[in-house]
């Protein structure tokens, strides 16, 4: 019988048959603290979602998708900006390793994370003032050499930490590979200009037309700045070591794109163009060649088929849709022609090793083919050019020798980006350079403050997979497609090919996110608990609480957690505050506690007595 609403006289307010305590919403019915039935305790533990882990700069992707779901776009933008200085750029150009890792990809289709990032980036660009502000000035000066992705990221993070940052850029315009390596129809120049303005708004000085080794010497860098980040990138194109590569009409991929990007291009393409190489730069070159007036563009790769090509499959698909021909398993051995290239000599070839960076084995037995062209664009990778670097810091690959913290010896010089990542197994992509710049910036800060350094690659927690989640809560839902210009209309213009999401589309796409391994306050555990011993004062991640005095360990909440955030931990793993089994009534003193006296004295008894205690 509930005694709620019954007046109990003082002399009866003792354990007494028929007059027993009424339960309350706050404490429950504390005559029956059933927590001692439990063998496994549910514990909320947010785990690493696969997207966050795959991202080169570990953007909190699950976090901002969750904020977009709730319509908190500005908070979502601020969350991206913690790790990524220019979401509007990566929202267009990123090779989205997050989407490849997305658990939804194994279920129906991966979330279009890049498109949502672009939506947020464009939102940030439209703001009159950025949400990020510079840190309190600490009086220290840092130079960042290079304004590409890694340099931009390092400068941005250092400015947020309160350093006075100067960026040195050898080109007339800042932006580095973002400007020189990415065509306009992927990343319009005004988007990048706006992001660079944001850097200047943070108080960063950008010195263009300033080249290290020419305008500034190594010793000046050492003398004038407390620390320096070298993010110079890979500037010099690789050659294919073919005869006649110096002929007129042979151009190299990255300078070709860079000159168009900087507006200083003098190349006039003929109607027939061949592109040598199968990577992302080669694809950009082939598509740019169409826009520069070429009629027939052929891509010649050593890889035997498209699946082996080291490129983003979607870009390859778009390139083929625009009408670029593919020719596999060939290597260029010579450029033929009298002063100007007229044809290529092609031989059957393959990579001698398992990976495509290995040397090329040319098949000398089979007859060479002649392939008539007017121009050839060679895009087979880049290498560094570091004549100003002291020899002690050079490694056997001709790039910068760093320790695992990104530091050059014990100097205050650090290096980041492609120039140190080449050959390390890391993809040479914008987002990886941004991540490297970020981590190195934090290490610069640590060196200048005199605290221990952190490794560039941080060890990761458990990554959530589909088996941890309850998929019954997620109906299959198709991906929201980004609109694209038709191949026929886009192949001749510099207009942006992929179109942005509208607000509704961005929310709809973010809604598809599973929030793998992370609580998103869906309230399901709260709703299905049979006790109910899951409480929350505010509905939010981290504020759910399990009343361990009552939880019987049925694990319904763990099974029904859609995201896999809840997990079961054996009770014996908790060494403090454990409610051990003695009897159902022994825990709250008073009341029926007397019944448990026998058990309470049990530890003092001899083992023999314990066996026969009853």
């Amino acid at each position: 019988m509930s005694t709620k609403g019954t007046h109990i006289p003082d002399w009866l307010a003792v354990p007494f048959a028929g007059i027993t305590p009424a339960p309350s919403q706050e404490r429950g019915q504390d005559l029956f603290p059933t927590g001692n039935w439990r063998a496994i305790r549910p514990v909320y533990r947010d785990k690493m979602p696969p997207c966050n882990n795959a991202c080169g700069t570990n953007e909190k992707i699950q976090g901002y998708l969750d904020l977009v779901k709730r319509g908190k776009y500005l908070d979502a933008y601020a969350l991206i900006k913690e790790d990524m200085p220019f979401p509007s750029v990566t929202g267009r150009v990123c090779y989205h390793p997050c989407e490849q890792a997305c658990n939804r990809g194994q279920y129906d289709e991966a979330i279009s994370i890049r498109a949502v990032e672009r939506f947020l980036g464009d939102l940030g660009q439209a703001l009159p003032r950025d949400v990020v502000t510079a840190g309190r000035p600490n009086g220290k000066k840092v130079a960042v050499v290079g304004s590409g992705p890694a340099g931009h990221s390092a400068a941005y993070q250092l400015a947020r930490l309160g350093y006075t940052v100067t960026v040195l850029e050898k080109s007339p315009k800042a932006g580095g590979l973002n400007r020189g390596g990415i065509p306009d129809w992927v990343l319009p120049q005004d988007v990048l200009d706006r992001e660079i303005e944001r850097l200047v708004e943070l108080g960063i000085t950008i010195k263009t037309n300033t080249e290290v080794g020419k305008d500034v010497s190594w010793d000046e860098l050492k003398k004038n700045y407390d620390a320096c980040v070298l993010a110079v990138g890979l500037t010099e194109p690789n050659s294919v070591r073919a005869d006649g590569e110096d002929k007129h009409g042979v151009v190299y991929g990255l300078p070709f794109l860079r000159d168009i990007g900087m507006g200083t291009s003098k190349v006039k393409l003929g109607p027939r163009v061949a592109v040598i190489g199968g990577g992302n730069t080669a694809i950009d070159c082939a598509r740019e060649a169409l826009r520069q007036g070429a009629e027939e563009v052929t891509m010649i790769t050593v890889e035997g088929n498209t699946s082996e090509m080291p490129c983003v499959p979607e870009d390859l698909h778009d390139m083929v849709a625009e009408g670029v021909e593919l020719m596999h398993g060939r290597a260029m051995t010579a450029a033929l022609g009298n002063g100007k290239v007229e044809a290529l000599q092609l031989c059957r070839a393959r990579f001698s090793g398992a990976i495509n960076a290995s040397p090329i084995a040319v098949d000398r037995e089979s007859p060479a083919e002649r392939f008539a062209v007017d121009n050839v664009i060679i895009a087979v990778g880049q290498h560094a050019s570091l004549p100003w670097l002291p020899d002690e810091f050079k490694n056997e690959r001709g790039t910068i020798r760093i320790d695992r913290f990104g530091r050059l010896g014990d100097t205050n010089f650090f290096a980041a980006g492609d120039v140190v990542q080449v050959g390390s197994g890391q993809p040479l992509m914008v987002v990886n350079a941004v991540g490297d710049g970020k981590r190195v910036a934090f290490n610069v800060d640590k060196v200048l403050r005199g605290v221990p350094l952190q490794e560039r690659m941080v060890p990761i927690d458990v990554i959530t997979d589909l088996a941890r989640m309850n998929m019954t809560y997620f109906p299959k839902f198709p991906r929201v497609r980004q609109a694209m210009l038709e191949p026929a209309s886009r192949r001749r213009t510099q207009d942006e090919v992929i179109q942005a999401y509208s607000e509704e589309q961005a929310t709809e796409e973010a809604n598809r996110c599973f929030s793998c391994g992370t609580c998103n306050a869906c309230d399901n555990c709260y709703l299905v608990c049979p006790e109910p011993c899951i409480v929350r004062s505010v509905r939010s991640n981290g504020l759910y609480k399990i009343l361990v005095d009552y939880c019987k360990g049925c694990r319904v909440c763990i099974e029904e957690c859609p995201t896999g955030c809840l997990e079961g931990v054996p009770e014996l793993d908790f060494d403090t505050g454990v409610v051990r089994m003695d009897t159902a009534f022994a825990i709250t003193p008073g009341l029926h506690g007397r019944q448990a006296e026998e058990l309470r004295r049990l530890p003092d008894k001899a083992p023999k007595d314990i066996e026969n205690w009853r």
């Binding site: 504390d30 439990r38 299905v528």
Partner: protein, 354 residues
């Protein structure tokens, strides 16, 4: 004497937890009429149901609990986990007690002795009380149309006395009253009493519905619909019993979904205004019954032909719901396409030696 208008609590419906592709439960009331500190088994289905029901009905509620698990396990030493008025009745008199409470409040309001809204009066009867022992009194309460909600939390057996067969125990379900053996290898030969349809057919002026703990928001909305309905309403809720069904405790909600997806527990509503059944509820998937049976020890003795019989029964339910049957389910109704449960032979052999 001027007639006093009865002020009723019209409870709003909850929106669906599926917002586009997103799963996010609606805002639930803060109030907690059913609190922790009770001695039901871990993962108890009826307890889940009790909590959801009382949360949906709110603080101005009176609960009536005829004998059953939710009385025996929850009111030990005269202590209950109910934060609202709750009363135990005899197992046979659940309907008459509930009718009495409702009539008393109507009378008190009429006489001006009770100010405030008419309380939500809910009778929480187990399937033993609702389908066997207390059937007559519940039928009487529904027939006289007292303003109350009578819920049958259907765990398909008498659980608190140690798992005995009730008239809601499904075909093939093992209980201590229906053990499998060489004579009756399927353990229970009879099909369960179709209680909710009986109530709808016999008391067409009442709101009648079935629900399952696998669909919490649907269940809570039906509770509120039943309470908002002026007159008697009846709800039958599937609540798995971990001890009787013999399954792992975490699967409680999962079984509540599977039983609907397998077609063994059709979810529908009886619309008293239009006098017709509403079969519009559709589970996300349709599955063969074996997926539901294999999770439970009480079906561990079934042979292929018994599973086929159950599949035929499920297919009939789908047809009743006017759902087109996929070919896989029609195939699964043929014993040739099925295999025995893992312990089918062993169960019969052991029984013979006893």
């Amino acid at each position: 004497m001027p007639a006093i208008e009865i002020q009723r609590q019209m409870l709003p419906m909850f929106p669906s937890p599926n917002q586009g592709a997103r799963f996010y439960n609606p805002e639930l009331p803060e109030t907690e009429p059913f609190v922790p500190g009770h001695r039901t088994c871990a993962g108890c289905g009826p307890s889940i149901q009790y909590r959801m029901t009382s949360k949906a009905s709110g603080d101005n509620t009176i609960l009536v609990g005829p004998t059953g698990c939710m009385y025996v396990a929850n009111s030990s030493y005269l202590c209950t986990p109910y934060n609202v008025p709750w009363a135990h009745t005899q197992i046979g008199s659940s309907g008459s007690f509930t009718a009495g409470v409702a009539a008393a409040y109507e009378a008190m309001i009429r006489k001006g002795k009770w100010k405030g809204a008419f309380p939500n009066i809910i009778c929480e009867a187990g399937d033993g009380s609702a389908s066997d022992i207390g059937l007559a009194s519940i039928s009487g309460a529904l027939y006289r149309n007292h303003d109350c909600l009578i819920i049958c939390y259907d765990n398909e057996q008498y659980a608190n006395t140690g798992i005995q067969a009730s008239s809601r125990t499904p075909y093939g379900g093992m209980t201590t009253f229906s053990p499998p053996g060489p004579t009756i290898p399927e353990a229970k030969k009879l099909f369960p009493k179709d209680l909710a349809r009986m109530m709808a057919a016999g008391h067409p002026h009442c709101y009648v519905a079935t629900a399952s703990v696998g669909y919490p928001i649907d269940l809570m909305n039906k509770v509120r619909k039943g309470l908002n309905h002026k007159g008697a309403s009846y709800l039958m809720v599937y609540t798995p019993c971990q001890k009787g069904f013999v399954y792992e405790t975490p699967r409680s909600i999962d079984l509540g979904r599977l039983v609907v997806e397998c077609g063994l527990y059709p979810i529908w509503e009886w619309n008293p205004e239009k006098r017709e059944f509403d079969y519009s509820f559709r589970p996300q998937n349709m599955r063969p019954v074996s997926e539901y049976l294999k999770l439970q020890g009480r079906f561990g003795h079934l042979h292929a032909e018994h599973i086929a019989t159950l599949q035929k029964f499920a297919n009939e339910q789908w047809r009743m719901m006017k759902v087109e049957l996929p070919a896989a389910l029609i195939r699964a109704a043929d014993a040739k396409n099925l295999v025995d449960m893992a312990s089918a032979e062993a169960a019969a052999a052991i029984a013979e030696t006893v």
